[in-house]
């Protein structure tokens, strides 16, 4: 079995053409031979019948005058024909009258009808011999077909030789023709292989014809053009891209450097600011303390001397100085927190004592505003580890705010213990029935130097730093401050801080 898929195209085409030509030649040769064989037989049969007629006609007198010797003599003349195997003359009754070769006796039964038929390569001819209406007898010829065989054999040899020559001719012609067809294809295949092997996209196939292969070659070349153009474009892009990446990297690097510098600068500034604030607050406090001290002395002196107007003025100076001192303290604390310099104490804290101190401290102010003040502390709250000063500061801030914004109302401080993530916590609620806040005010509440409204600071006083500081302290403790409020109905601030128990038991 020929493996067609592995066969080169040129051999396929040649083989195809030779096969077609060979098949056509073989078929036509076979048809020719068959026709020739038939023609040979027909001609031979016709000739044999003619021979039978001639011999029969010549035997008429011999039959008519019953001369077997003459008949036999006529038959012996048939020996000139080498293919004639046997012959005989029958008399009118079908009996054998004369035979060839002389003495032969076995002959088929005579048939009066003229016939010439081949039986197994032998031609048998019957011919009736008549004299006017009378039947004189008949003749039988048996003729071998060696001449036919010979002629046919020569025909066969000639035809086969011709076939061979023609197939060779077909081979030569198809070789030439396939060259015309395959040369451009092979050329194209070679170029394609070169392109694929060496990545040589500059190679081009030569267009030799205007047929489909020519179109293919053109399309292939067009494709290579496009690939080449694309390659060039890509190369340009690639080179450009490297430059761009380089430029971007440098830009990024510079930006990073700038950012780093800016960050360092900002950090430095921040630290400087915090340090400045801390230093300044400290430095401010010293002269302020002196101012407060001496103002108090002068006020006492003025009261003693009965200068009421001076005493009143000095009282205002003292109040403003106190305010200023608180402000400075707050700023100092805030800047400490921001600078990360605020540290928390870790001592046993008695909750009740802290709350009591705050409530007692603000009692006079509440009384002045006409507010009632109550504290609700559950009995037997255990002490916890924490910073009592900072806690007091937060609570003080919250309660003084409540007091500040409430007139003729109720102030209430309540404490409860609860568990969060299986750790003990404390919740302080400071609620009032004061003016309350809107949602917008709540949103801005914990920002530095912010009060619910600009106008409130003028009207109610305060530094605006209290809530901000309280929240930071609460966060420093790991807790939080939240607020709920409704305008005109009051506010409730809630402080939640973890309350780790004292080491060594609950006592």
């Amino acid at each position: 079995m020929l493996r067609l898929e592995f066969m080169p195209l040129r051999r396929k085409i040649t083989l195809g053409m030779v096969l077609v030509a060979g098949l056509a030649l073989v078929l036509s040769s076979l048809a020719y031979l068959a026709f020739q064989a038939r023609l040979f037989r027909q001609t031979k049969a016709r000739r044999a019948m003619t021979l039978a007629r001639v011999v029969g006609d010549n035997s008429r007198a011999a039959l008519a005058f019953n001369d077997q010797a003459a008949a036999s003599q006529i038959l012996q003349s048939l020996s000139a024909n080498p293919d004639l195997q046997r012959a005989c003359l029958f008399d009118a009754n079908g009996a054998i009258f004369a035979a060839y070769p002389a003495g032969a006796t076995t002959f088929p039964k005579f048939s009066d009808a003229d016939s010439a038929q081949f039986h197994a390569g032998t031609l048998e001819v019957f011919h009736g011999i008549h004299q006017r209406e009378d039947r004189l007898g008949g003749i039988y010829l048996q003729i071998g077909s060696s001449d036919l065989d010979t002629a046919f054999r020569w025909h066969l040899i000639f035809t086969l030789a011709l076939l061979g020559v023609l197939v060779l001719l077909a081979l030569a012609v198809s070789y030439r023709i396939q060259k015309v067809i395959t040369a451009p294809l092979l050329d194209l295949a070679a170029v394609a292989k070169r392109v694929s092997d060496r990545k040589d996209y500059g190679a081009r196939a030569e267009r030799r014809s205007q047929d489909e292969i020519g179109t293919l070659v053109q399309a292939f070349n067009g494709m290579l053009d496009q690939i080449e153009a694309r390659d060039a474009e890509l190369r340009i892009y690639r080179e450009h891209l490297e430059e761009q990446v380089e430029a971007r990297t440098q830009e990024l690097h510079a930006a990073n450097q700038e950012l780093l510098l800016a960050k360092q600068k900002a950090e430095g500034v921040s630290r400087a600011k915090s340090a400045f604030l801390a230093n300044m607050s400290h430095e401010l406090r010293t002269p302020l303390n002196a101012i407060i001290l001496y103002t108090d002395l002068m006020k006492e002196q003025a009261e003693e001397e009965g200068r009421k107007q001076d005493a009143s003025d000095l009282d205002r100076v003292s109040g403003s100085a106190d305010h200023l001192l608180r402000l400075i303290n707050d700023v100092l604390d805030l800047s400490k927190v921001e600078a990360g310099k605020m540290t928390l104490a870790s001592d046993p804290v008695q909750v009740e004592a802290v709350v009591d101190a705050v409530v007692q401290g603000l009692h006079p102010q509440a009384a002045k505003q006409g507010d009632t003040l109550e504290a609700e502390i559950p009995a037997s709250l255990p002490p916890f580890l924490g910073d009592a000063t900072k806690l007091r500061q937060i609570l003080y801030n919250l309660l003084s705010n409540a007091c500040k914004f409430t007139e003729q109302g109720n102030l209430k401080v309540s404490v409860e213990a609860f568990e969060k993530a299986s750790a003990p916590w404390l919740r302080f609620r400071v609620s009032d029935t004061g003016i309350g806040m809107s949602e917008e005010q709540l949103a801005r509440l914990f920002q530095d130097f912010t009060q619910a409204e600009e106008s409130t600071s003028r009207r109610y006083g305060g530094t605006g730093l209290g809530l901000s500081l309280s929240r930071r302290l609460a966060q420093l403790m790991g807790g939080s401050i939240s607020v709920e409020s409704e305008p005109g109905k009051g506010s409730t601030f809630t402080l939640e801080i973890p309350a780790p128990p004292l080491p060594g038991g609950a006592s």
Partner: protein
């Protein structure tokens, strides 16, 4: 009838050939009892000869409706055999008429004459007359052929054969076929 008679003759002939009979048997053929079969064969021969011969125009055979007249001249040895064989038969397309005569003038109105052995003394007259009228002369007597009878039947090995006098036929304007000549035992 005819074919059976032919068969009998053929069987006799073949038996004679196969047994290689001595001349003694031929003498038996000449016996009065055997004469019938011999002349039956000869009568058949008589009716066959015209097929191998062509007559000159003066024989008057151009008209196919005219009869072909066979004259038996002298004492007929055929009995009724010849008439029987010739009945409903044609020669060269002509109906056959068998005439019997002993007057040489009868030769003028026939195409073929069988000269019986009895007419030996009139032979020259008959031959000359036949030549003049284009009449085929046939005989079966010793020496007739030599003396101008165109076809003279002879017995050879107990089979009927014939001699031909070609010059006599040529003189009468008759052409004897080549096959006939080929079968002739002697040609004068």
């Amino acid at each position: 009838m005819r074919s059976r008679a032919w068969l009998v003759a053929a069987l006799i002939a073949q038996a004679a050939v196969l047994s290689g009979t001595a001349p003694g048997t031929s003498s038996m053929d000449r016996a009065p009892q055997a004469a019938q079969p011999e002349y039956e064969v000869k009568a058949r021969f008589l009716l066959q000869f015209p097929e191998f011969i062509s007559w000159p125009a003066r024989a008057g055979l151009d008209d196919p409706s005219k009869p072909f007249v066979i004259l038996v001249f002298g004492d007929s040895p055929f009995g009724s055999k010849l008439d029987e064989l010739a009945a409903n038969r044609k020669v060269q397309g002509h109906p056959i008429q068998i005439h019997y005569a002993k007057d040489p003038e009868a030769l003028d109105a026939c195409q073929m004459v069988f000269i019986c052995a009895s007419e030996r003394r009139l032979l020259d007259v008959l031959v000359a007359r036949a030549a003049a009228h284009g009449v085929l002369t046939i005989g079966d007597s010793e020496g007739f052929g030599e003396r101008g009878v165109m076809i003279n039947l002879v017995i050879e090995a107990s089979l009927p054969r014939f001699e031909i006098n070609r010059s006599a036929a040529q003189a009468a304007g008759l052409v004897l076929g080549a096959q006939l000549l080929g079968l002739a035992r002697k040609v004068y």
